[in-house]
Amino acid sequence: MSINASGWKPTTPVAGGNAAPTFTGNKALMLEEPLIFEIGSTETTGVDFADGDVAGSRLGDLTRKSAIGLPGLSEQETVRHYTRLSRQNYAIDLGLFPLGSCTMKHNPRLNEKVARMPGFADIHPLQPVDTVQGALGVINELAVWLIKLTGMYGVAMSPKAGAHGELCGILCIKAALEKRGEGHRKVVLVPESAHGTNPATAAFAGFSVEDIPATDEGRIDTAALKARLGPDVAAVMITNPNTCGLFERDLKEISDAVHAAGGYVYCDGANFNAIVGRVRPGDLGVDAMHINLHKTFSTPHGGGGPGSGPVVLSEALAPFGPLPYTARTKDGYVHLIEEERAEEFSNEHFGGKLDSFGRMVAFHGQMGMFTRALAYILSHGADGLKQVAEDAVLNANYVLRSLEDVLDAPFAGAGPCMHEAIFSDKGFAAGFSTIDAAKALIDEGFHPMTMYFPLVVHGAMLIEPTETESRGALDQFIGALRSVAERAKAGDPSLKTAPHFAPRARLDETLAARKPVLTWKPPVVQAEAAE
């Protein structure tokens, strides 16, 4: 039985009203906070250092002649500064975070508990391998899970986030082509329905990028893609489910055609949350796919922590994966394979087939993310992971169908969406656009959705609710967006100046981008200025 089932609440007066402005600018618990350089005094320090006793320096004329200009704060002032700033932030622990393509799901506290265990948190990557068998075992076990969930052959664990993983996959493809003597394949095809990082990755790796159009229903134009295949095509980069929130049904057919033409298939796995446990990319002919542990496997991100982007690889690409990697031998020992032992170990255990393209990071990857992701996987189990995908898709479809009567949903006719619902600003009153709806959502207490992406949708609003929101939370968000959409369609002028209740009114984003102020300059002291 719940407490206070009658819903009774004490009636209290609403704050604000016609109160005079406060002396400090604070509004009770809503605190104004100056820059760290504007508080404290440079005479103050949180640490009491002894005077330096360095007699001659070997730097000669290069020694510093002026003060370094660090802010001067006591420990308490520092703690308060950052705690105050943290209260002005929006976070997944405060409310629903509908950013499409980001999979901002709840970060279970069990993950945090595991990641803080001293055996994982207090070790160093240069420790002798004998003393970190538990941590290496976690990397290895997570690798085994990722291979199993994706139906692939191998995995590179070290990439630090999604785009880094993309680069790793594309470098594997480049190495494989060069090994085959086909380094002349220089074109990477990227459909319009793919993530924006895909063409950037291919260009960064030295390939030239060509677009493949999307169909009106938001999927790859398979015929156009097949027509472009040829002896100059190195790879195709496909996001599945794609940025229109749709499953690319033709992926197997596309993969077969790409392989027949001598190319490789890279899949952007940022949206893996929608299919985890239900679809294995390996079965669809994918050669490389990064997995954002910080999305699908609930490790914190978006200001809350670093990313992690392991790349699963097909049998054709696995030999070219980066160093270092872990390998468990039959005796149970987990080896860390680095340059010194790579050839010897490969000859001994893999028939000499490994031919790494090199190294992407100094050490083994994001250990803290590995422990969190494995804790998430093990606590959900195979059945739980399957339900993750089902519930993520169900929630997105609930949002889509609850709002399609008031917002234009360009792909709603293409059938159910996957993990994200997409709307356009079609139907808004003249002069009103997606930005106005997004700013009004801030007044409603929500982080805005992804705006103006994907580019194929006019004024796109991309919403990914994830599986971790309850129906009650979704209904509240849907109610807020419905109200905002109705105001935009009616041309409510107050929407143009939203947000009204945030600590700052609408910022001039154009001015901020054209003339950014990126450095703090100390105020000119009156006495010095007079000299």
Binding site: Y452, F453, L455, E509, T510, A513, R514
Partner: protein, 123 residues
């Protein structure tokens, strides 16, 4: 002097064998407030349809393609400090680069002002 348009919303004014290239008023209105423009360096050889410049607005970053083949004479230096010129005068002061045409027959495939207006009306 005559003006031609591409389906990617670039315009080119041709005077003899010299062309001046920019993006159309329709393009700037779709992009929104322009905050950054990168123009090509003088001397760069461009093929028709090559990526020649980059334009960034608060909404998106887009490539600007060369409507013709040729060598770049100069990029518009004013856009570095004042990208807003592309919004305020897209088909005048907000030009992107000047180019020496290597094949004037490429212009035949482009639209004139009337055809472009009809093209935009259908979008």
């Amino acid at each position: 002097m005559s003006r031609y348009f591409t389906e990617d919303h670039e315009w080119i004014d041709v005077d003899g064998d010299t062309g001046t290239v920019g993006i159309s008023d329709y393009a700037q209105s779709q992009l929104g407030d322009i905050v950054f423009v990168e123009v090509p360096d003088a001397g760069r050889a461009l093929g028709k349809g090559d990526e020649a410049a980059v334009v960034e607005s608060v909404k998106a970053a887009s490539d600007v393609y060369s409507p013709v083949s040729g060598n770049v004479l100069e990029g518009n230096p004013a856009l570095t400090d004042e990208p807003a010129l592309v919004n305020s005068d897209p088909e005048g002061e907000g030009w992107f680069f000047k180019i020496t045409l290597s094949d004037a027959s490429e212009l035949d495939a482009l639209m004139d002002e009337t055809a472009y207006a009809a093209f935009v009306a259908k979008l």
